[in-house]
Symmetry: D2
Subunit: 345 residues, 4 copies
């Protein structure tokens, strides 16, 4: 199989490329880039020296559909919105890693993303690619809206609680923290080393575009849910997301009971590692891998539960989950090409 990557010069694209180097069913990766077309990929990313001799190709839809069997779009938000209509006449399956296909309601998309949504026809074809929760839909999807990094960590941490009806629908606070690579490769003062190193900041307070994405899925699971509080912090590290989730139990439960609920819920999900009681995951423990590790603590003093969910934002939060969906769409095991250990330390 030949796959293509639009936006190959971004971090998400480079991570898909890293995975594809060891994917047993992918013969070739063709890389597309509007800004850097004509230069070699190794000039952009010298860590691929000797591993690829690819030159970056221009983004020409008719050529792309002729060249490849499957397309990953790993470009910034807005690119898929503009391009997807050109791909719709063709049969090619697409996984988009930006937020463009995620919101079912185009007006909500536009109010949080501040540019035009993709055509309604594309939105209707798109399945939300939260791999563990939407398996059947993903397997038959033409387009996948690959989930955002924060929503992935958050929703995987919430699903067992919500789907089992255990928590108060009007009490949900998510304090999320991310490494800097989530901001992409584009240089800016906000990601300048001297400003980020030895620093911690909160950003987009109550305004992050991943908020409606989380709410959309939560309400898809249970329409009764009230608006949530969702905050994002920038941590001086490159990779990793932690969502610290605070909610209230409908009826009192102990940590070990909740741990059993989570373990049962994810018993067939290879990439979800529910930790033992008293053990809480650290972001480095999933570094470079597709795992999502979850820890739980019930607090009897408050009848609240704290869920800690960590992922590598570029893997389970982007490229890794994209390949997991790609596997499912092609009828392969979800772990194909993804069953490697985190790198530690």
């Amino acid at each position: 199989m030949k796959v293509g990557i639009i936006g190959a010069t971004g971090y998400g694209g480079a991570e898909i490329m890293r995975i594809m180097k060891r994917h047993p069913y992918v013969d070739e990766c063709i890389l597309y880039s509007s800004r850097h077309q004509g230069t070699t990929y190794c000039k952009q990313y010298p860590h691929f020296v000797k591993l690829t001799k690819q030159t970056l190709e221009p983004i020409e839809v008719s050529q792309i559909v002729a060249d490849i069997d499957f397309l990953f779009m790993a470009a910034p938000s807005g690119v898929c919105s503009r391009l997807i209509a050109e791909f719709e006449p063709y049969d090619i399956p697409v996984i988009d890693l930006s937020g463009d296909l995620r919101m079912k309601d185009a007006t909500i998309y536009e109010s949080w993303y501040h540019h035009a949504a993709p055509p309604q026809s594309a939105l209707e074809k798109a399945v939300y690619g939260l791999s563990e929760l939407n398996q059947e839909e993903i397997k038959v999807a033409k387009y996948i809206a690959n989930p955002g990094c924060f929503p992935t960590a958050t929703l995987l941490g919430l699903a067992p609680l919500i789907k089992n009806g255990l928590i108060n629908e009007s009490f949900l606070i998510i304090d999320a923290k991310t490494g800097v690579s989530g901001a992409g490769r584009k240089a800016s003062i906000g990601t300048h080393f001297s400003e980020v190193n030895e620093n911690l900041k909160i950003y987009k307070v109550n305004e992050h575009q991943h908020l409606p994405e989380i709410e959309q899925t939560i309400r898809y699971w249970n329409p009764v849910f009230q608006p949530i509080t969702f905050s994002t912090h920038l941590v001086p590290m490159t990779r990793g997301i932690m969502a610290t989730i605070y909610t209230e139990l409908k009826t009192s439960m102990k940590t070990n009971e909740l741990q059993t609920v989570f373990s049962d819920f994810y018993q067939n999900s290879y990439f979800i590692r529910v930790r033992e009681v008293g053990q809480f995951p650290e972001t480095k423990e999933v570094y470079g891998s597709n795992f999502c590790d979850i820890g739980i603590s019930a607090d009897e003093r408050t009848n609240r539960v704290t869920v800690i969910s960590v992922i590598d934002n570029l893997m389970k939060g982007a490229a890794g989950q994209a390949v997991q969906n790609f596997n499912m769409m092609n009828g392969w095991s979800e772990t194909t090409g993804l069953d490697f250990a985190p790198i530690y330390p």
Copy 2:
């Protein structure tokens, strides 16, 4: 004036020493250490070469009270508990930076700190040294229980809301993040560079000993308050604390109204910098200084408010606030020796 520091080889002690080098009313700092007595301070901390020739003195109470006019105890928790009875017969004022004098109820102390509390007589003499809130008591105190780093950031962020009766007494969640220096200088696997760098972890979930300290003060302000949720995360940076505080408003307010409440509340507090609407403080913006910077965001969707409060854990969270209290106890301006800018970047 001659001051002494017990536990001078810890980071809190070194930071007091740094401040004292420029304090106009302090003639001499005598440094005490049980572990390193007899060695020069510069051997422990070469950054003080040329700035001091002090040798570390043994901890002998009768000699200490003869040598100095004022004592800072910057030793780990448990040392003050053991030593304070020996100092009580003497007239010397003491500021303790550990948690030992903070809990008014010795049984609560013992259940969270897991060792014996100081004598009741010492606890009764101790004033909680949250400088901006307890000025009158601090001025006449003999002993100061210098607040913990997390409680300082948290309580300064909460005081205007609680004292003005604006928030729901049963809805308070504090997601706190700290740099690694808060763990002190003692080497351990949990503070080993290769384990902490490029990593984010949560620790002591629902079990941190600063939790009862926060609740004690909140209930001193308003006894109606219910148990709180308080989490602490370790961020790969040396200095800095951020408390992200989530609570619910009793009646709807806009961000600018809340900003005015905070600005008014702290109008005479030099070290509190309430940020403008839309601006949120970063930990690096207070690095090395005694400032506490606060940002506020009200969310109309949820009727909740997010307060962000940042400090340098070794300054306003330890040594800086200790010197601020020292100034007040001696009748000097609270800013004496502390009116320097943060270091950035």
Copy 3:
């Protein structure tokens, strides 16, 4: 094949384990540890949750030789010295990652390592496992002295110059820099996060135990070489070594001529990536991989050449090269289980 790892709880051991998880010819890894025997490996390294259920076994030689076909010793220096005599009666091949088997002259070993050398019989059986340079010896070796991290980067950067007789034998200065993981997992003040972060230090100036190891190999290639200068610096990062090598050309050469010398020299060496003229490798570009990347700059002003050689200290500088040697000893391709891309960013 069953392999064993003594010292599995160290970083080198954990990295061998990570590689073995995807090695096609290894059925099982048995892990040995004197300190943690009886506990699960995942308790030590939660990033392996779901990937292994191994319990740490005690170090009992007769049991080890019964259990496994091949032994990696990844324990601190001194352990192999003490244990190897017990293994000598058996047929089991051993790769030792510590420095214990590297020095051919036991007295030199003892003067730099400050403890007793292994028995002479073991030293004689040991082949220095610099994979690219000693292939024929490695293939038939019983024992491998796996090279040190600094010597690996240095010697790979020097070999083309020395073996081609291009440089002044009395002018060799190596300024080496390492990430902190090279110091292992044992906590100490020198690897304490708050002391290492945002800091750069030099250590063991003119006293590092890797110095005689480098000289031994250089003189094995050309006995005329004079004593070298070798310095090591600790950089606030977890992984990565850079050796910046300064030497003098016997006759003037341009950078592109030297680049050709290097490219030709390493044309059959998969893991050595000689960079194009004007491009210099960064440590992150080999992160997590077994590559050694080399850049060269000749300076006409001084007739000196600067060689920059980078590796991941835990991979090509330890576990990766060990597995490369393991492959060669077993007659497999040297890249088996090691042909994965670096992780970037």
Copy 4:
């Protein structure tokens, strides 16, 4: 006294501002910026909230000379070259922190800086502001070429050896390492957090513009000196420079003899801290201060000496040394406003 800062929005300018807040003889700092004129300084640098209400003023020479008594130019290279002619008719003293006034030979400047040199008249008025070495000239200078960060660390480490005629004039290798703030505040891929963090790279190999600056001063001290080798590395930290200097002794000397040479040489230099034998400075030990700390190691095996010289690049390497020169030009003690301790950890 009123001082002005052109280029106040850069890191060097901000650091001058930080120092001036506590300088006893400076009444006011007026800040000039072409890009951000009209906005408040606190908008650029929120860490100055409450410490200044300054608005950034436009760069209009006639207004500047009317407003202030002393000018710091902390703009990027090229700005001083263009502006200085406009200032020459006036009497105002200027300290320029860029490289523009440093090279006595305009053609050398232009070949390394790649743009036009300042007028010859200005170059002739400029004194090289290496504070400890050029005191008499600095005191009477109109213009100061404030030294580069790398040259400062390097030359202070070399002066006692060269001025005492102790080293081989054709053997000098400087391996320099810097934190990222030396690159200024302008965002670029080369200073992007995700690319710099957990990474080490060499840059401008044999091409750094500080090389001719170092050679110019060395040859001013001793014209016999041959071309030097000078390399620069980017370390994942914000502040700090270390120069590791390798040279050859003319006659054999022991470390303690050299330590005495250095101590004697700098006995009246407050800001130079020559370390004891066996102790080597770390960059963090001068963090935020104007100190330059020096360690020495003679190696009997090679008859070479290694000198380690560390500074804070924004302090002794830029703003701190500028203020030190400012003090000397005004007849004050060189330590005025600069006698504060490093911040550690």
